[in-house]
Symmetry: C2
């Protein structure tokens, strides 16, 4: 499977190996990535894509695993993408992934992949969107996109999937509240995980207050209580996802989300590619010389960039 | 203060209002931002710049406040930049900021600013670096850069300050461990905050294990125990920062950090500016048309970008 033409048939048949290979191509900017992407178009738009974000420690991976397990039992094909911009690894080298590998893939074949591209030009959001297309084309019924943190990259990624779940836990501090304020607007469903802890009602009340302060939205995001570790509330979560999906289909929401997603992909890929071309024009030595002048205060970065982009 | 020439004198005299105005210019790409930045060069390189990162809830803002309070008592001028990519607000509208405003600025004049630029082209890392220069030129002795989360933006920002403090707390879960793995390499000092909780020794042992697994580094990052809420260990933290600063000066580390910082600034500003120019060439209507085609599967994003960047 060294060319797009060779890889495509296996991918369309749902081969996990082909999917993993294709995602690596997209991550690494392999020469066959573009030809492959160009052939996926007709096969896209069938998967249900759900995102999970929230503070580290909120139990997102456990929750994702439990939902995946439930969907697998129902005979669905499930792909999980774990987005972790802070990880130096990629391709599933994380502790969390190894846990998942054991928990989910062993018992019924979810596809699990860690997205952790770091390059100086970013590209994580773009690579994750590419991976969603790969899994969609490979015929996965559900694609669960899970973020480790709540950086802007990650909020961007989950804010344009079909259903964005923001995972909260009782008894977290002010910084969490600040983060909630930031991602409030992208939430389609609030999941109050570890709901067997004290303070669940407090979180639900805070959510009510925040909703009342936010501008009214056509879809009122429900709050679902779960205990991921025990699998409690996962059925209710799946039902809430079903209701949101049905609402999207009746309200033209799928097209709206698809357009938002296209805008994110286009802009992030454009930034990545135009910077790559600019750096290629300047060359490594030229870039290094400019950076040394900036570091020494001989040149300000704006001027350095203006020179680099001068026709 | 409507032009760089008007604002510069007030800024160099250390006016908080002038600093706030200048930072807004940098954030918003105001036409006077570049002329101002071009005049700061000779005044840079005097401030001690310290970064704080770590999981939400680790108590970074409290710790930053306590350190700021201590430095202010010692007669130093202190600026605090709170980097929060997930916040829809900017310019200090966050709960955390209001807390700080009350706690620190009231009692002796720290400058506090929330950095939360979101634009589709990012720019947060770049704007924060600009803000550091503004405060440096304004004669602040210490600039404390605090991140709310641990997204890549934020790790980038703190990884190139002079001293990067990674704040940990006892008893956090697997996801935190994964994040620690990701930011391990950028830590100059580990702060074990909330050290009055159980599990401090466990965290210290984990750190030892991770250090033993990581490639050896010329500077061995120490671990300092603090209880931010009580101000405990803040003196030790200041001493550790002093030792690291002295080490940097003797080892040419300041120049190395300045070069890393210049690379980050140049690349992020180059990506931002080259994408901005490409989008300007295509125009809003052209961009929207391409995004509609991508959303409908009629055009793949790579092809759309290739067309947009074609000379």
């Amino acid at each position: 499977m060294r060319t797009a033409a060779e890889l495509l048939p296996a991918l369309l048949e749902g081969s996990h190996r082909a999917a993993a290979r294709a995602i690596s191509w997209m991550e690494n900017g392999h020469p066959e990535a573009r030809p492959l992407m160009a052939r996926l178009g007709p096969r896209l738009g069938r998967a249900t894509v759900v995102g999970f974000t929230g503070a580290p420690g909120a139990g997102k991976s456990t929750l994702t695993d439990q939902l995946a397990r439930r969907l697998l039992k129902g005979g669905r094909r499930v792909g999980i993408l774990a987005v972790d911009p802070t990880s130096p690894f990629s391709g599933g080298a994380l502790l969390g992934d190894r846990i998942r590998m054991g928990a989910v893939t062993a018992e019924g074949g979810a596809f699990v992949r860690s997205m952790a591209t770091r390059g100086a030009l970013g590209g994580l959001a773009r690579a994750t969107q590419d991976a969603i297309d790969v899994l969609d084309a490979a015929g996965f019924d559900w694609i669960l996109v899970e973020t480790v943190g709540v950086g802007q990259d990650e909020v961007d990624v989950v804010s344009c999937v079909q259903s964005c779940c923001v995972v909260l836990v009782p008894g977290m501090g002010d910084e969490i509240q600040a983060i909630k304020a930031g991602i409030m607007e992208v939430a389609d469903i609030f999941v109050i995980n570890k709901a067997d802890r004290d303070g669940v009602e407090a979180v639900e009340q805070e959510l009510q207050v925040m909703k009342s302060l936010a501008p009214p939205r056509p879809w009122d995001p429900p709050a679902v209580r779960t205990v991921g570790a025990l699998g409690q509330g996962v059925e209710e979560l799946e039902e809430a996802l079903g209701r949101h999906g049905a609402w999207l289909r009746t309200q033209g929401g799928l097209e709206r989300k698809a357009l938002e997603r296209a805008r994110l992909r286009f802009r992030s890929l454009l930034a990545e590619e135009s910077a790559r071309r600019a750096l290629a024009r300047i060359g490594p030595e030229g870039t290094e010389a400019l950076c040394r002048d900036i570091a020494a205060g001989r040149l300000d970065p704006y001027e350095a960039v203006a020179r680099s982009l001068a026709p």
